[in-house]
């Protein structure tokens, strides 16, 4: 009996032991180890796609995924809400409010997220670049992919330097601080900021490589040779290198891959930009990327009553510009909310003029594929460079090329109106054309112009409904109505997370 028991015990023990002492290493089911990305052919493709996805995705940040947080949403809000085309219709504790009020701080979460996600994209691009450059036989398809990653890195760096450094044209680029350059995945965590010049040099170097590598275009959802040229034109415009701006704008215009929308196609352009010819590069959002009321770019700008918050509207000065000619088809993207069919409805005392450039892809009020480069900008960048060179005929020709296609063929500008400069004419047209697309905030300051927001809106702190008298301008005694171009506070603080963890990084 005892022997049987002992034997039984041994058998149980050994059997359990045998079955369990096997390897206990485990791997995640929906993640791939960084090291094995290079082991498969689609590794590079997936990482490159991932880098595009990071422009649109809500990422976990500070431990959770806030619907507000998406690279492009912050990109548009941090730029356009700090400009004069959009008026704030409601006080809010959303950090987007600080762009309206210019009460920036190092710990405002929208800026912190933008910084973090920008560098995550750069890390992804660096990963792809390092894998591809480690390979010997590069096909044209692989080179295209490499070029796209250089483009993505340059685009991310360029947006960072514009938000977190003084504009190139009004700075001392060789001494003023730019951004932290991250050119490989193996750098130490702590690193100092480069100068503005070094930052621009790195951006141009990436784009020059990208331009040469991309010869197998994959569609408007992906970067292309012309996208790199378009970004080069934008970069040189910021540097006030007029010749290069003209050169690269012209390259894109003459590539014959794109054409301007006409007065009849423009109103349907933004909802269908993927299939339209004016688009150079957009970030593709598909129906599953519709981010609804809490996370879409559109939700602050438009609501059908339920779809969004609809708290920020087209500003009085913008509408005044647009009202110069009611035939202007750019009115198509202003949707007036009427109280009773006649009077414009108000929210908290501010008239409701919704903005619809980010709505109605597939009919969804919260869905669009934001256009980041389109042909009209190339004409206008070139016009600005011509204007700065004093070349009035060429500048006006480019401006009129736009106007012809926006229902203003009978209202072309043949000479500079009295009281205006040629640059005023170009910038006015650019404002009309590219409003709400993330240009105005940069265009004003880099041209040494003040941001004048002398109109009623909740960018005025402590405003109550009763203070608003739409018949008059707000009294000039109110603080911060005008942000002067040399006001250092117009740019964003380096986020607190970087300052805390990177001792070499100097705050603005």
């Amino acid at each position: 009996m005892k022997k049987i028991l002992a034997l039984l015990s041994i058998m149980v023990c050994v059997a359990v032991f045998h079955s369990c002492i096997d390897n206990i290493d485990v791997s995640p089911s929906d993640q791939i180890s960084t090291g094995s990305l290079s082991e498969t052919e689609d590794g590079i493709v997936n990482v490159t796609n991932g880098n595009y996805a990071l422009f649109k995705d809500g990422l976990t940040f500070q431990g959770f995924q806030d619907d507000n947080n998406c690279y492009l949403r912050q990109y548009f809000q941090m730029s356009d809400f700090a400009a004069d085309d959009i008026v704030c219709g409601q006080k809010t504790e959303d950090p987007l409010y600080y762009s309206f009020t210019y009460t920036h701080s190092p710990d405002q979460s929208n800026s912190r997220f933008f910084w973090y996600s920008s560098y995550k994209i750069i890390n992804g691009a660096n990963t792809a670049i390092e894998i591809i450059e480690g390979q010997t036989n590069q096909t044209d398809e692989i080179k295209q992919m490499l070029g796209e990653n250089y483009f993505i890195r340059a685009f991310s760096m360029f947006n960072l330097v514009r938000f977190y450094s003084q504009p190139y044209a009004i700075s001392n680029p060789t001494t003023d601080l730019g951004i932290i350059l991250r050119m490989s995945t193996s750098e130490p965590g702590e690193k100092a900021r480069a100068t503005i010049q070094q930052t621009y040099d790195a951006i141009i170097a990436d784009l020059t490589k990208a331009e040469g590598l991309m010869n197998k275009p994959r569609g408007k959802e992906y970067a292309s040779k012309e996208a790199a040229q378009a970004l080069l034109a934008r970069v040189y415009l910021n540097m006030e290198d007029n010749d290069k701006t003209i050169e690269y704008s012209t390259s894109v215009i003459e590539s014959n891959r794109f054409s301007l929308e006409t007065a009849s196609t423009f109103p349907s352009f933004f909802a269908n930009a993927i299939s339209h010819d004016e688009t150079i590069w957009l970030v593709a959002f598909t129906t599953v990327d519709s981010r609804g009321k809490f996370g879409s770019i559109a939700s602050m700008l438009y609501s059908d009553g339920n779809s969004g918050w609809g708290e920020e509207f087209a500003s009085i000065p913008y509408r005044e510009k647009l009202s110069a000619n009611l035939a202007d088809v750019r009115w198509a993207y202003i949707d007036t909310l009427y109280k009773d069919g006649v009077t414009v409805d108000k929210k908290n005392g501010i008239e409701v003029f919704y903005i619809t450039k980010f709505s109605f892809q597939d009919g969804d009020p919260n869905l669009s594929s934001p256009v980041l480069f389109r042909l009209a900008e190339m004409y206008l960048n070139r016009a600005e460079a011509y204007a700065k060179q004093g070349n009035e005929p060429s500048a006006l020709a480019d401006v009129n090329e736009i106007r012809k296609n926006r229902g203003l063929e009978n209202d072309l500008i043949t000479s500079v109106p009295a009281g205006k400069t040629l640059l005023d004419v170009v910038l006015d047209e650019k404002r009309l054309e590219l409003a709400f697309e993330g240009h105005r905030y940069f265009d004003v300051f880099r041209n040494k112009r003040d941001m004048d927001r002398s109109y009623w809106g909740y960018h005025i702190e402590n405003l109550t409904v009763g203070d608003i008298n739409l018949g008059t301008k707000p009294p000039a005694t109110i603080a911060n109505l005008i942000i002067e171009w040399d006001d250092a506070s117009k740019i964003y603080f380096i986020p607190i997370d970087e300052i805390n963890a990177n001792k070499l990084c100097v705050q603005n």
Binding site: P28, D30, N49, Y119, K120, K191, C505
Partner: protein
């Protein structure tokens, strides 16, 4: 390795002879006692006396039999001859000091234990009908802090034993061991005893997972041969307790709103402007949102069990049904628990135990935003139509009208309409099956194999009707998710027990293996036809997700206890764990522990001291660990859970760290147990726990593309403390008895030797963990109040010299100049509880209170409810008595002028409040019907109980409840109070019957 074990077992194969010991047990009145536990000391072998008080057990010469029964002193009798017959007379004892304490892998009498453990018997645990073990523990065990941070039906509590010994986010709950096996499920009614293991002397056996303490649960088994039925039923009400939150009524909010119109020059309210914006008629509208949203809700619990035993078989089987309706609109929870425990003796040597536990639950929960809007709804708005249905509000019909049909609340959302047109349902089911085999190979050596397979699944269902206002209007939304967890554990031990004269030694050695598999699947979509709420009908934006996860732990376990003359005890244990959560090079950890004790009162020099019944000194030292960081945290990873343009996409997710290894806590404990005059029991423990190699999510510069990396810190986290438990029989005279139990625990927490401070921010609130500081220390600009001349908010500006020393502190009204500083921790400096029991004849009056002192709570709800006009269309709460708003120069006020309030609601110490509280947890009155009445209707016991829970809280905290979460994770920061499901006041009537 395998060969060695086989060899070892064969080596131990020596023949010993057994004999059958029989006997009978009487009580002090010579009445035979059924149900007395009889156990061979140092083994798991035992039996219970039958209805005639008789027992039979296989024991050999030299064995010691331990007799224990509730209310009686434990007796030990040595076996001197084979086939001995014993007659035992139990000696009544007012303290159950000698009762067997279940420590998980082994059981020992209290006298034998050298470590810090606390035991709660069934009746002390279940002082109120509840589904939540944490709530039942609050205030009862020293050193155990319980936080019930939500009153949601079916919601649980958070338990912290001896403070917090880790920094990493995630699970900080103690390890549960049910019926000797790690993990498992149970209903509080099924608990026979609960043991809290607090120091490494006791928890060292659980090594890898013991740093946060261990709670050992033993479920019930048959007490006697005859079948005994027990039925308990409870019925009562929950009433929402909003604490100090008293939202403004229509008139109060109207008056507050006028403050926005105080003229900056005259300092009078500009009534013309104010009446133009806020028509006078608004004052007459008054909807109490909280009264409409929260209604008294029924709570019921029913329990039925049967137990009994025969010579070969003993069983316990029970069922519990719990149903709690929520006080908040459309919330509730119900749960069913079934358990069957059977023990079958094949023969004198082989015993098998089968325990099966099944549970199923269903809950209806709420959306955070609905709770948020319920508190913040403006009282001039009507949420209901004339017919009582909830009003439809959206951006097209929400107008600021003066006739009572307007909508003044900030957002065009009626939370009641949203609630009525949405569902948030979750369901769960689980099963555990335990199979244990005990084989006595020789009289001194036995083998036991304890095995459990477990399974649990939860399903979530979130639905928004196309008829609900908001983003899903005309589309609807459905999201369902299902999680499945399955796992198994096997513990295989050889136990031995030898006695040599005055010396005895017992112990165990073996292996344990654990595996867990987790799978999750989710689906969501929009475009639903009205009236349908399943994923199949979704027509658009269809998304799926799904992944799985696996973990494993292999362990070697050993323990030995030496005992000299029942006076000196020495226990050592050694455990080795191998976890899949660490890189293969670093996945092995060793956990030794040693403890010793001496019973001074048994020594000769104490013989003459009659005052002292027991005086015992204990000490222990050991190492425990905590591997709970989740799988694969050391790997460099790219996420594959997104897409671009419909194609797979990989995004950078995690930085690699192949050096990552175990976090370990070195624990030391010294304790004294003292019993005087059979009326006073005092337990005192002093401990020091030092956690090293702390796993931290170290902040990386975000310019690397990563927020953080899992690393082992150079720093250590030190918890030092003292715990006192004092139980006294204050009065015992005739039929009257008055007893109290008092617990007190002071814990200090300090961080040392960190390479750099760890800064953690959730929802805009920041904490700093740095040298010399406490864990969960808030790091905020310091609020100094309001400038008496301007009415502007004032913070403290600090100037530091090159060495970082503060050279100047001055007030500033510029928020950006006010650098953050350490302003207090969310951890309390002491916690405890008091219980008092008055017994008179058949009546028992019982009260239990819990207290906590010295913790800070950040009241994030005040950003909205006390907003200085920053959010003019959110309702505010009525201010505390000593709050005042600045109106004109010279006012000494706590709240700034609404005209000069720039950034006043930004994160600062303004909203950081004292979270100390004293709470009457439970008051109950029990009446036991006289036995003859019960017997006359063929019942053996009947009792009626009235219970009131959470009746009174004394606190300075001006919010819902000072009990706020201590969980550190994605959505929550320890010590931050956000809008939550309010706690409840409960009134319950119970009827308990035995037959």
């Amino acid at each position: 390795m395998k060969k060695t074990i086989t060899f070892l077992i064969i080596q131990l194969f020596v023949v010993y002879s057994y004999g059958q010991v029989t006997g009978v047990v009487f009580d002090e009145q010579k009445v035979k006692v059924p149900g007395v536990n009889v156990l061979i000391l140092g083994t798991a072998n035992g039996t219970v006396t039958d209805m005639d008080g008789k027992f039979e057990i296989d024991a050999k010469v030299g064995d010691t039999l331990v007799f224990s029964f509730i209310g009686y002193e434990v007796q030990k009798v040595g076996i001197t001859s084979n086939n001995q017959t014993l007659t035992i007379q139990l000696i009544p004892f007012s303290f159950d000091i000698g009762e067997l304490v279940v420590l998980g892998y082994s059981s020992k009498t209290k006298l034998e234990i050298s470590s810090a453990v606390s035991v709660l018997s069934e009746d002390k645990l279940n002082d109120t009908p509840s589904d939540d073990i944490g709530g039942l523990l609050q205030g009862k065990v020293s050193g155990v802090q319980v936080v019930t941070s939500s009153g949601a039906p079916g919601g649980g509590s958070e338990i912290r034993i001896r403070g917090v010994s880790t920094i990493k986010p995630g699970n900080n709950e103690p390890l549960y061991v049910v019926d000797g096996i790690i993990g498992g499920t149970f209903d509080p009614n099924d608990v026979e005893s609960l043991t809290v293991l607090k120091d490494a002397g006791a928890t060292g056996m659980y090594g890898a997972r013991a740093s946060k303490g261990v709670i050992v649960i033993t479920t019930k088994s048959a007490k006697s041969g005859n079948t005994v039925y027990e039925f308990k039923s409870s019925y009562g009400y929950n009433i929402a307790d909003h604490g100090n939150v008293d939202m403004m009524n229509g008139q109060e909010f109207y008056d507050l709103s006028s403050e926005q119109y105080r003229d900056e020059d005259t300092h009078e309210i500009d009534k013309i402007k104010f009446y133009a914006d806020y028509p006078k008629s608004l004052q007459s509208f008054d909807n109490n949102w909280l009264d409409e949203a929260f209604k008294p809700a029924a709570i019921q619990k029913y329990y039925l069990s049967a137990s009994g035993s025969s010579k070969k078989l003993s069983y316990y089987t029970s069922g519990t049904y719990y149903n709690e309706e929520g006080t908040y609109r459309k919330t509730g929870f119900q749960k069913l628990n079934l358990r069957t425990n059977t023990t079958y003796k094949f023969n004198d040597r082989v015993t098998m135990k089968n325990n099966i536990s099944l549970n199923a639950s269903k809950g209806t929960t709420y959306d955070y935003m609905d709770m948020y809007y319920t508190y913040l709804g403006v009282p001039w708005d009507k949420p209901f139509n004339a017919d009582g249905s909830s009003r439809y509000i959206d951006g097209t019909n929400a107008k600021k009208l003066s006739d009572g049909t307007g909508w003044w609340s900030r957002d065009p959302i009626n939370p009641f309409h949203t609630i009525d047109n949405s569902d948030h349902i979750y369901k769960g089911a689980g099963a555990d099956y335990d199979l244990s085999l005990d084989i006595r190979i020789f009289d001194w050596l036995s083998f036991s194999s304890s095995n459990r397979i477990g399974f649990s699944t939860t399903k979530g269902h979130n639905y928004v009707s196309p008829e609900a206002a908001g983003t899903y209007k005309n589309k609807g939304y459905i999201a369902e998710s299902q999680d499945i967890w399955s796992g198994g554990l096997s513990t295989n031990l050889l136990r031995f027990n030898r006695v040599f004269g005055d010396h005895s030694i017992d112990g165990l050695v073996g292996f344990e293996f654990q595996r867990g598999y987790f799978e999750t699947l989710g689906v969501s979509g929009t475009g639903l036809p009205v009236g349908f709420d399943v994923p199949s009908v979704a027509s658009s934006e269809i998304k799926i997700s799904g992944s799985n996860n696996e973990d494993g732990l292999n362990s070697f376990i050993s323990q030995a206890t030496y005992n000299y003359k029942g006076t000196y005890f020495l226990t050592g244990s050694y455990r080795i764990d191998i976890s899949s959560n660490f890189p293969p090079e670093n996945n092995v950890a060793k956990f030794p522990s040693i403890s010793g004790s001496v019973i001074l009162s048994k020594m000769a020099f104490m013989d003459d001291v009659n005052l002292i019944d027991l005086l015992k000194l204990r000490t222990s030292y050991g190492v425990t660990g905590d591997p709970e960081i989740g799988s694969s945290r050391y790997m460099g990873l790219f996420n594959l859970n997104t897409q671009y343009n419909g194609k797979p996409a990989a995004t950078p997710y995690q930085l690699q760290n192949l050096d990552l290894t175990w976090e370990k806590t070195n624990q030391m404990n010294i304790g004294i147990d003292l019993e005087l005059l059979k009326r006073v029991t005092l337990n005192l423990d002093i401990y020091s726990n030092v956690t090293k190699d702390l796993i931290i999510l170290r902040a990386m510069p975000p310019s690397t593309g990563f927020e953080n990396q899992y690393q082992n810190s150079t720093g250590h986290l030190d918890n030092k403390g003292i715990e006192i438990t004092l139980s006294t029989v204050n009065i015992q005279k005739g039929d009257f008895k008055f007893t109290t139990d008092f617990t007190f625990a002071k814990n200090t927490n300090m961080l040392n030797d960190f390479e750099e401070p760890i800064i953690s921010t959730v929802g805009g609130v920041t904490q700093i963990y740095q040298n010399g500081g406490e864990l969960y220390t808030f790091y905020l600009p310091k609020w100094l109040g309001v400038d008496a001349q301007t009415g502007a908010p004032v913070w403290e500006k600090i100037t530091k010299d090159a060495n970082g020393n503060v050279t100047l502190r001055e007030p500033t009204s510029n928020y950006s100049e006010a650098a953050p500083q350490e302003v207090g921790s969310a951890l309390p400096s002491f916690t405890g509880g008091i219980s008092a029991t008055f017994e008179y004849k058949n009546f028992t009056l019982y009260a239990n209170a819990a207290y906590q002192y010295g913790n800070k709570v950040y009241n994030a709800t005040r950003i909205f409810m006390d907003s200085d006009g920053h959010e003019p269309y959110y309702n505010n709460m009525n201010p505390k008595d000593d709050w005042s708003r600045w109106e004109r120069p010279g006012d000494v006020a706590t709240h700034p002028s609404m005209q000069n309030n720039s950034l006043s609601k930004e994160t600062s110490s303004r909203f950081l409040e004292d979270g100390s509280f004293f709470k009457i947890r439970t008051v109950s009155l029990e009446y036991r019907l006289p036995k003859k009445w019960a017997n006359s209707i063929k019942l053996s016991e009947i009792s009626l109980v009235l219970t009131g829970n959470n009746l009174f809280t004394s606190t300075e905290f001006w919010g819902q409840d000072p009990e706020v979460t201590l969980n550190s994770g994605s959505w929550s920061m320890p010590g931050v109070c956000d809008f939550k499901y309010p706690n409840n006041k409960q009134y319950i009537f119970s009827l308990n019957v035995k037959f």
